[in-house]
Symmetry: C2
Subunit: 435 residues, 2 copies
């Protein structure tokens, strides 16, 4: 039986998980790959208490792994974008295939890395970079290859989804739910990466490139976090038949591409609305297949290892490998990526949910209505709550028809300037996601 | 640019859909495959009104396509298992790759066909045979290849799921919902294939082989249809927090393999419980990744064509092709398939839902309880409905703990023999599907 030599760089959570999945399931994996997958070299600053490295070459300098002529596949699990990029490029130049779980690296430097890999006739695989163990890269690159992808919408940050689920199911405020997520080890001590949407933006930009055959353009993603969401909005959304999810959305229209991460009201009868807790799911609208959805664990040592090892097995099997027919990293060769215009977020139209606290006085409603009208925004539904005993402010909830963000933001600013409106006006996009 | 010549046999719904997806999306598909996909030969008894065959060789004898030395990939979409098998084997022997949507052919003759393909170093791809456009074969064969699959449970017959959804949402009886499905073109005029579970059994046996690396064994699947289900049971299930779905279930336990298709009560908070109408979904429990779910259209011309064309693109890209590293059709080479024992259905343990109409008399309950006790079946919950005005029969609903079907069926026969129990006792399996 043939064998393939694997070098693993990084023995943290995912590195340790990968090492152990390869060892624990060696028999099964050998049968599937028809190849012995041997970890021959590990690069890590420290040994791992969970990995038995006996008989394996261990280097403190990870670049030793990239220089090791015996290593055929280098698995990059050190994270970050500086050293990781150098390491991956060194491996490629040395003629090794690369497997990585590093979403930031791919989102920010993927164009350069994939071009280099094409030049050196090696593969860079990154299934684990998006939605953990869900084989979504393979689905887009291969399974849905016959489809013009119209749009996709994903719950691609588990921490954020956990927080939103807690806010809805237990009426917790954002900060409480975040503390709980941190206590459970879901969120980082500095949770900005999760709750501000950067992590989701990294994943979205990769999904969009795979879906539409466009270059990676991380800097172009519009990103809005969930830090401003209140249980009040979660509750009103629910009354209106919606669930608020933090979605990464990529759309292809006749005008161009939309790339955006933001809280979104979606109908509560969608399957995507039922994806709770730390789980991830991606809904994809394909021209031929219609909607398909992919659900599973978006993080964690073993789910992420599942994706890393799947990539390794693919390479060991020779799937898409070889100079005659390499599988393109983004679904088409780098030279064939299309330069499609990006639609500025101000021009992106959807329906909107707005909430404001208004004085319970005659004329307020007509003033608000006329501000919408001036901006060409039509109102789909309007709910005014009767004031509580002794209260002078009432909540006004407005659902609009399709309107561009630019017009909505002008209307919001005008409303916030009114003496009869108290504080900020909340505005959240609504998406039907119905194809 | 290189090109590949495709022969399509069969221009019915799926054949026409495939032809048109290849033509309509030619530019996009060419870029993704880095290859021109040319349909050079069509074998069909009649022309199709939806396909423009100008410039394409057309044969009335489909075997002409298998004999055509220019054809490199033969797409079999004629259906059936007799002529289709001859055609596919002729193509394999002639050195052509084969793509098929024919679940009956693969389920019943796949072992022989795949062995022949291995011998001739060609690929047989069948993504479209299961769950239409959902790339589930690719997910199991490649995306989840690092996982020992513990079990999978699928809604893999859209007609049956449509009927169950109508029964639940509109309180329709089975026969009404079936008529509606027929009127909408979902069910065949002879719907037995759908509602008796044969279609689901075909798909299940293929999924199980991919999941566990075992030979295809269609005759071993236990199959129970949905024809006996009543709205009463759908209603009681709902009160108890369950939804009834017609599932194909494959499990790998220490004792062996379970292969079964039957109505099943599943908790209503599962994502699978929310899969309604004609849609399909497969929930898979992997050892490393945990649960993942795949959802989409399970039938229809264009969704099925999406899967057929994805297979063609894979072959054109050279994914898993070539004598040095062929992708095994069932995830492992035919010689490496494991012969695992099948657990007879009588021994398969799950909780059960039972409903019986009993006389409203003292002592009935204790008689029923003692019959369960004799069979070693413990009762988890028991609901007795107060009789209506002037009624002498009451409904008794029992939820049991884990019990083998053999014991439950003995208990059912004993209860049906009681004078105090009217008519048949309904028994339906319960599955928690919680990993």
């Amino acid at each position: 039986m043939k064998s393939v030599n694997i070098g693993i760089c990084g023995l943290g959570t995912v590195g340790g998980g990968t090492f152990n999945v390869l060892r624990d399931s060696a028999e099964l994996i050998t049968a599937r790959a028809a190849t012995q997958l041997r970890v021959t070299h590990v690069g890590a600053r420290h040994d791992s208490s969970t990995c038995d490295l006996a008989g394996i070459r261990v280097s403190r300098d990870i670049f030793e792994v990239a220089r090791d002529p015996e290593v055929e596949i280098l698995v990059e699990l050190i994270g970050g974008t500086t050293v990781a990029r150098e390491l991956v490029e060194a491996a490629i130049i040395a003629g090794k295939h690369v497997v990585t779980a590093n979403k930031a690296l791919i989102a920010e430097y993927g164009n350069e890395i994939f071009a280099l890999a094409e030049k050196h006739s090696v593969q860079v695989r990154y299934e684990a970079a998006i939605a953990g163990g869900i084989p979504i890269v393979k689905a887009l690159r291969e399974g849905l290859a016959a489809n013009r992808i119209e749009w996709l919408a994903g719950i691609i940050n588990g921490t954020g989804n956990y927080i939103l689920t807690e806010m809805r199911d237990r009426g917790r405020e954002f900060s409480d739910a975040l503390s709980e997520a941190q206590a459970l080890g879901y969120a980082e001590a500095d949770p900005a990466f999760d709750v501000e949407g950067t992590d989701a933006a990294h994943k979205l930009v990769i999904l969009a490139s795979l879906a539409f055959g466009i270059p990676l353009q991380f800097e172009a993603v519009y990103t809005e976090g969930i830090t401003e969401l209140t249980t009040q909005d979660v509750g009103y959304a629910s009354e209106l038949g919606y669930i608020i999810k933090h979605l990464g959305i990529a759309k292809q229209t006749d005008e161009g591409i939309e790339l955006r991460v933001h809280p979104t009201l979606i109908p509560d009868d969608l399957l995507l609305a039922d994806v709770d807790g730390v789980k991830n799911a991606i809904l994809i609208e394909g021209g031929a297949v219609g909607p398909t959805l992919y659900y599973g664990a978006g993080a964690g040592a073993r789910p992420t290892a599942s994706a890393v090892v799947a990539d390794v097995i693919d390479l060991a099997r020779g799937v898409g490998v070889g100079a005659s027919a390499p599988l393109p990293a983004l679904g088409v060769a780098i030279a064939d990526l299309r330069s499609l215009p990006l639609i500025p977020i101000e021009k992106v139209k959807t329906p909107w949910y707005l909430r404001m606290e208004v004085a319970d006085k005659p004329g307020v409603l007509s003033t608000v209505a006329s501000i919408f009208s001036e901006q060409g925004i039509s109102i789909e539904a309007l709910i005014q709550r009767a004031p509580g005993e002794g209260q002078t402010l009432v909540s006004l909830i407005v659902l609009t028809n399709n309107a561009p963000q630019g017009s909505v933001d002008i209307a919001v600013r005008k409303m916030e300037a009114l003496a009869t409106i108290n504080g900020k006006v909340t505005r959240i996009r609504v998406e039907a996601l119905d194809g």
